[in-house]
Amino acid sequence: MSTENQNTNDLHDRLVDQALQEIVGDETPPDLSGKILAAANTQTEKLSTQATGDETMIANHEKGRKRWVMLAVAASLLMAVGLILPSVQSSRKAAQGSKTTSVNTKEQNKKSTEKPTDHLQLMVKPQVISEGDSSEGRDQLAPAAQHPKSQMGLQGLINEAYAATPPAETSESSTTIYELGDSKGESSSEQSGLRRTGRTTKDGRLNRNASGGVGGGGGGDFGVETLRALEPPIISTDTFEQRPQRREKWAYVDLGGPSKPERRLPAIIIESEGEEERLGIEKGSGPGTSGDQYTRIHENPFIVAAGEAAVSTFSIDVDTASYANVRQFLMQAGRLPPPDAVRIEELINYFDYNYSGPTGEVPFASHVEVAACPWHPEHRLVRIGIKGRDIQRESRPQSNLVFLIDVSGSMNNPAKLPLLVSGMKLLTRELGENDRVAIVVYASSEGLALPSTRGDKQDTILAALGNLRAGGSTAGGAGIQLAYQVAQDHFIEGGVNRVILATDGDFNVGTTSTAELERMAEAKAKETGIFLTVLGFGRGNLNDAMMEAISGKGNGNYHYVDNQTEARKVLVEEMVGTLITIAKDVKIQVEFNPAQVAGYRLIGYENRMLRTEDFNDDKKDAGEIGAGHTVTALYEIVPAGKSVDAGSVDPLKYQPGEKPASAGLANEKSGPASDELLTLKIRYKKPDGDKSTKLEFPINDNGNSFAEATPDFKFAAAVASFGMLLRNSEHRGETSYDAVLEIAESVVYMPVSGREPDPHGYRAEFLKLVQQAKNLAGE
């Protein structure tokens, strides 16, 4: 075979390979139309603001002709001004005389809101030269104050002429005139028939930008045409008014793109008065802006292990959203995440650990390991690990799933709806005849996009997913109601009944407050026995706080999907764990033995803390554990005899026989002497049960050094250290990014119990994250 043939065959092979990537691997071409058209608009705008007439011509061969046309138009305009000026002046005199008759519609409207003197000041402007216009444009153009001066049309000239006459007012400084220019813009909008709502002076500025920006340097016709076509977005808010001209224009362009286009969305999607402000500048403006909402995390402090304070209680958490979110910040946004985006327990629980599974009736197995703490060598680190029972994919129970998909305008972003749809398609392909899927969508209102359909009808489900389009506001609460209703209608006894909510969390219509949504999710979970999975997407208006809260209350789990790999991890590789709950309301209580422990600190789980009495209260909700899930919690322990860095409390005067639990050296022994370090207690309920079962395990410390710890222990400690560094924790001790890398690298590629090390590459990826964070932190 000749080299040429070989080359051609290779290319044909490549063509088939690429087609397979698309048809089987879901690597579809993205919809870039929004981006391209927006960029084209910006390009046009740049050309137009650079300003000479011939630059804005479409074809080179027309340049000369256009120039002549413009000159002719300019001459006509001057003649027209000569004709109109006397009548304008006479009209003005009439207006001044009567105070009730105006020269034109604009004046008529303005008189109701402005004093005559202001009005006259407004009209005092330096002379400007019009580059040309048409009579049509004269009627519709925004006036001089709305356009760059070089683009002023006939209306501007009329104003110039009119303003030139009253000598008394022309003594106003040019500064005053500029300030009043906005008001002028307003009245002109009215004249153009573009007023939509009662607007303030700020609207005029928006109109100017919308028309002037697009219109180009050659005049206003195109601008007016564009303005007409885009008239609905003239909803200007204070927020828009503050933005630079270019961004305002983006508001009228269909979207596409990571952050800037999201700024454009509000103008496209606003449907009702009052929405604008909230959908405005604070949303969708990129990483770290106030558009992303996180719950403040107050790190768990050290607690002196004395009296009732020697007991620590918390709910398990199998969410992994924070890790993916942190990864997105580091690797895609190229910046360190805000501290409140870092939930250390979710970083730790992102990884699978090699805990052996349960063998008896209990749905999970517990593992505890104690070794030296790497960031405080004099402290001990306790790792509590729980492993849920594995359920083979083929033997998973019947499923009744409802995809609740946010198709509001804020989802119209490559990192949101397209990724969401792609992820849901991955999940769909894992389903079969024993499963049912319904799709509920919500934007301005909720709706059933696909009635509950058998899982083997893949074409139908995939087609329904493929037809989803984003637009409108976000009635998330109503969507949740409908999704639960649909799930309830097709409830499978003993099966998996789950609503999978996919959203950026930017609910803005109907039920919107986190507290209300939490209550709704909690009530639905209790009433219906239906579980909830929340998948978060995108950046800019990510409501992480709300999504974490409702997943917790709705017997659910929460994951953030930042890319296709994460979608595959959550929805394919860990599908069984994501969908099948093996135990609910899982609570952990640890009682520390004061004889061994002076103080302790739970690392992470800040928003999962429970009161001591909640442990035995079956009415208190807690976290769920899925099939095969591993949950890990770390306690940093100050051994007895060491000082505890806790806050001080004054001695209690009225507590007979008790010494105060105060900071300082280890407290006295209060119970029978024991070598045990702690007692671990776990409570859980069966997925369909209401009564909890308690497990209890006494734990001893065999004094292992950190070097003697298992690889999984070391890796979890490295991840915790990383989290503390990202949070800039006061408890980070001697740790550093280099130390994290050293620990993690030493174990990432180490086979454990004959198992392939890091089969999916997640731990290797962790190393990259640490390296990136180190670079970003400048260490």
């Binding site: 690429q18 084209a40 390009q43 050659g218 392909r429």
Partner: protein
Amino acid sequence: MSAVSEQTQVDLASLVHKHQANVWRYLRFLGATAADADDLTQETFLAVSRSSFQQRSDKQTASYLRTVARNQLLQARRREGREINTVELTAAEQVWAAAPDMDGYLTALGNCLKKLDGRATTAINRFYRDKHSRTEIAAELDMKPEGIKTLLRRTRKILRTCIEKNPAPPKNNNHDLTNRRASGDL
């Protein structure tokens, strides 16, 4: 002025809508990464919007867009200081131009995939759908990784022959991928 400008806008929108997917695919075919293909597709249409291009037949327009896209890729590679293999680009253009339209090609591929069975189907599924490595697939099929490479290549050749023998009629809507993908789903 306004009419011309607006017309240009409208034309650009329809041009983008109709051709963006194939431009993106073409760039990927020429070796651009997905992210580069995104950027270069945008650059291609922006370059066209700046030019005095006038739409002709779909085929001519597609060919023109490919030329612009190819040039954009070449420029990008020059900027990056990467070697440019123009021979390969020329050959790639010939192969692409000789292939039926991509919609038809993908539909035909979907139909041909249904005719596969046994290890070929498993290998394709694992490799393309599940993103498994050759080593993982080899372990599942009890083969050697090199054997998987050969199996995949042989299967692609079978699919190519099948597509050439059973071409599908072209579709007009480049964005209507859902049903086609669904029908080609394994």
